[in-house]
């Protein structure tokens, strides 16, 4: 597991963080739940309905660019924050974003979306189940089993590496480019890149899965 809390400078940030606004939303949700006005599951269901509508979801474009532009891919893997900000056409990406590349030998999977470490501006909204503690602990102990639950079967000799975000280190999985996409434009390739493929709990869509 990739735990390197020591490697960054803000040691005092090792506890969880929520913004002032997030605290106010949580306070409301808790009170309304306790008083029986809202059901957290129903709220989650509404939020899930909009999961593709939250945040700029720049990740797919970034992945598609990495698939077509070897120099960008190299820069992305070296320093994702720097590479993405250098593109200039996205809102500023937070610090310490690390891109990890899937290969036939290694599949990467990211856990921890519990607070500000989830790069939603890249990935959009985390799936609701992803926040659940059981998922998190199982992903660490039995990543292959978790992947199988999501319908992802990898070759037996593919190593699975689980990355656990630290307070200031966030991860973006660079999935493998699907076969049969030679000569595709970045825009078309981006349509294949799902959120789940960028957190490693899924694979990109196959060309045949694209809606016409």
């Amino acid at each position: 597991m990739a735990h390197d809390h020591d490697h960054h400078h803000h040691h005092d940030h090792d506890h969880s963080e929520l913004s002032e606004t997030q605290l106010r939303v949580r306070a409301l949700e808790t009170i309304l739940t306790e008083k029986g006005y809202v059901d957290p599951k129903a709220l989650d269901a509404i939020v899930e309905m909009y999961e593709t509508k939250i945040g700029p979801r720049n990740g797919a474009a970034v992945v598609a660019k990495a698939w077509t532009d070897p120099a960008f891919k190299q820069a992305l893997l070296a320093d994702a924050t720097k590479a993405i900000n250098a593109l200039g056409h996205f809102a500023r990406t937070g610090d310490h974003l690390i891109a990890v590349e899937n290969t036939p030998q290694r599949h990467n999977m990211v856990v921890c979306t519990l607070c500000s470490c989830y790069p939603w501006e890249m990935l959009g909204l985390p799936p609701v189940w992803y926040k659940a503690a059981p998922y998190r602990s199982r992903a660490v102990k039995d990543p292959r089993g978790v992947l199988a639950d999501f319908g992802v079967t990898l070759a037996k000799d593919t190593e699975i590496r689980v990355w656990d975000s630290t307070a200031e280190t966030r991860f973006l999985v660079l999935p493998m480019r699907p076969a049969g996409t030679e000569g595709w434009s970045e825009d078309k390739l981006a349509e294949l890149v799902t959120r789940d493929s960028m957190i490693g709990t899924g694979l990109p869509k196959a060309p045949a899965e694209l809606k016409r």
Binding site: S16, I31, V47, K131
Partner: protein
């Protein structure tokens, strides 16, 4: 709750940021605040007319206080409207909102990174 109710809300309330398919959100908390308003409306806590009037009042108040009204702050006004309406309707007082906000803040501070942040009774004693 379904997309029909959500679409209705987005139409009934002026200014909700949307694309062709309906509401869009810049950050996850905005969708949560939207969902809470939807759920309270469904429970009959307020009508959309009432909501829109209060929201518009909140926006005017912020503008008078120097809010640039760029659309960036829309959901901050939305959240202020939620807080105001639950207080006015006797659902949760301002004091209670503050108390819970502080308790979450405490829970957050004592939770190591990566562990689920959970609110416990002890968080209210600080």
């Amino acid at each position: 709750m379904d997309s029909v109710a959500a679409a209705k809300a987005a139409r009934a309330v002026p200014g909700v940021p949307q694309d062709d398919d309906g509401p869009v959100f810049k950050e996850p908390w905005q969708a949560q605040a939207f969902a809470i308003a939807l759920a309270l409306h469904e429970r009959g806590v307020f009508t959309w007319n009432e909501w829109a009037a209060t929201l518009s009042d909140e926006i005017k108040r912020s503008q008078a206080a120097g809010d640039p009204d760029t659309g960036e702050t829309y959901y901050l006004h939305w959240l202020a409207t939620l807080e105001r309406l639950v207080a006015e309707k006797g659902v949760a007082s301002r004091e209670m909102l503050t108390e819970y906000r502080d308790a979450w803040d405490h829970a957050c501070d004592r939770t190591p990174h990566g562990k689920p942040i959970e609110l416990t009774p002890a968080d209210f004693r600080h």
